[in-house]
Amino acid sequence: MSVTPKPAGGVGMDWMSMGIGILIMIAIIGAVYIWFPPASGLMGFLDPSNIFMALIAIIVGGALIGIGVHFVPVGGAPAAMGQAPGIATGVAMLAGGAGLAGLFGGAWAAAIEPDPGIWVVCMAGAVGGALMMAITCMFVNVIYVYAMGIPAASGKAKVDPITGDTQTEYKSQGTEGHGLPFISFVGGVVGGFLGGLGGTLIYYVLLEWVYVDRLLSDALGAPAVANVTPIAVSLAGMFAIGLFLVNAVLAAYNITGTIEGPHDPKFARWPRAVVATAVASAVCGIVAIGIVAV
């Protein structure tokens, strides 16, 4: 008996379930539009700080996390034995680690006074995630090369699409490859970037567009901003982490096991994950908004 093969999923779309998912998402978006109508006119509609736009931003953030997870090269248990390329841990866990490190940076930037704006906060989160993945991916190769004497080799591509290095002859016998070829390193960094970006976007809109305003204006006896901010930060942080994990796990199920990065044939499954994470984010988003807005 050898390693049990993982269940294989195709790259095709299941239109029936996609349709049902998209219908649920549209229903939620419609409900929020009716429930919290944006101000009249085009400018009112595009005004970022309304709850309807917050839900849209949460959906976009969730989809960014879903795509980002597909970039992260994860080899799971076979990678821990040098049997397959990638980082030797789980997809959702690694994406979670990188995205949350990004969220840490983004949340710190969001605390700057005066508010530095959504672009600075989101980029701070994205770069935080990318930096975490860059360091981790480099150390994977440090361990493989300097501690185990094994060069990096891809199992899915004959030639590294970025560097043009041939891969096949660097695979040791009886394995699918090992370590992180440069394309996988780049995939990891891009994955961390998108994950950090999505997670921080969700955090920022929940904090600045939903929680602070709602907690200030609601039936809490007109509290001061200083009293409300810690509660809003905690709530937004909890929901951002929760949404991050929901989307990372959903995308991990789409990947089924391991992926080498953007050159892996499994990468072509990302459109499915975008639809699934967008629907899940809409469902989770209405709960995150409803907890203070009702």
């Binding site: 008996m1 248990a77 949350l100 975490m132 981790t136 994977v140 493989y144 002859e169 390193f185 930060v233």
Partner: protein
């Protein structure tokens, strides 16, 4: 402003040092408990007829498990601080209580995982349970204490807006991710499959045939902890220490100049690490050479 930056850099260095110790202790703890991906081989071996005395407490991956423990430690510490208890005492009590939870987790996980292998003739060794659990608890204590202390520095001294428990979740998961990514291959390939060729991956056909005998008698997980603490542990520590240090340092120093400062410096670091990674990759290709000659199409 300068005093603030100098103090910030000092705190950043302290947090980086704590993170380095945390990473090293975390990886050693997970290797003794086979918490990372190599647990699949520990579990597979008896099914292939290789009965062993390796500890296995993997019922969750390292990142979620450490997310739980560090968040728990940080939460208890935060609650004690809110009661007005001294910081050091709060940190120690929080970590001790969390370590007890980790001990319960390790015990039940080992019994559950190994008992499931009964039909393959794998016994539950009570002496292994007694001797390994306490050692993983000791390492977990160090990892949790240092991470919670680091989170406390970020929250109280560096002014991060997240409350202590939330920082615990974030950095606990990141600690587990960095430790498992860096440390797992060294434990899985280099220790469990020490009988395979050095400088090559484990052939799929060898799966399950882990090394079960030590210099004297049967190998147990303390031997594995001793081995991985020489390379996998320190490398995981440096990895996590670098993540924490650079994340804090670029913000503390460059945020004073411009809000875009930390972002630009972060991007520069990403490019620098990409260059280093590429150097390591090409160095390995040149130094070790291919396994087989290139087949021309």
């Amino acid at each position: 402003m300068v005093e603030n930056i100098v103090l910030g850099i000092g705190l950043t260095a302290m947090a980086g040092a704590l993170a380095t110790v945390a990473g090293a202790a975390e990886d050693t703890e997970s290797d003794i408990g086979s918490q990372g991906d190599p647990n699949s081989q520990v579990q597979l071996a008896p099914q292939m007829g290789y009965v062993h005395r390796i500890f296995n407490k993997a019922i969750a991956g390292e990142p979620p498990a450490y997310g739980l423990w560090v968040a728990l430690g940080a939460g208890i510490t935060g609650a004690l601080l809110a009661m007005g208890i001294n910081v050091i005492l709060a940190l120690i009590i929080g970590t001790v209580l969390t370590t007890l939870v980790q001990g319960v987790y390790a015990t039940t996980a080992y019994l559950g995982r190994i008992a499931s292998l009964a039909k393959f003739g794998q016994p539950v060794y009570v002496d292994i349970l007694k001797s390994m659990t306490t050692v993983t608890m000791a390492h977990a204590f160090i990892a949790i204490f240092t991470t919670v202390a680091m989170c406390y520095l970020m929250n109280a001294a560096l002014g991060h807006p997240f409350p202590l428990a939330l920082l615990g979740v974030v950095w606990g998961i990141a600690l587990g991710a960095a430790g498992s990514a860096t440390g797992n291959p060294f434990y899985g390939k280099e220790r469990q499959y020490q009988n395979q060729k050095f400088g090559a991956g484990v052939p799929v056909a060898a799966s399950g045939n882990i090394v079960r005998y030590a210099e004297a008698g049967e190998r147990n997980s303390l031997d594995n902890g001793w081995f991985t603490s020489k390379m996998g542990g320190p490398a995981s520590g440096i990895c996590f220490g670098l993540i924490v240090f650079l994340e804090l340092w670029r913000t503390v120093v460059f945020e004073e100049i411009s809000v875009w400062g930390p972002i630009i410096v972060g991007l520069a670091f990403v490019i620098a690490f990409a260059a280093m990674d590429r150097y390591i990759e090409t160095w390995a290709r040149k130094t070790y050479g291919p396994y087989v000659k290139e087949v021309s199409a």
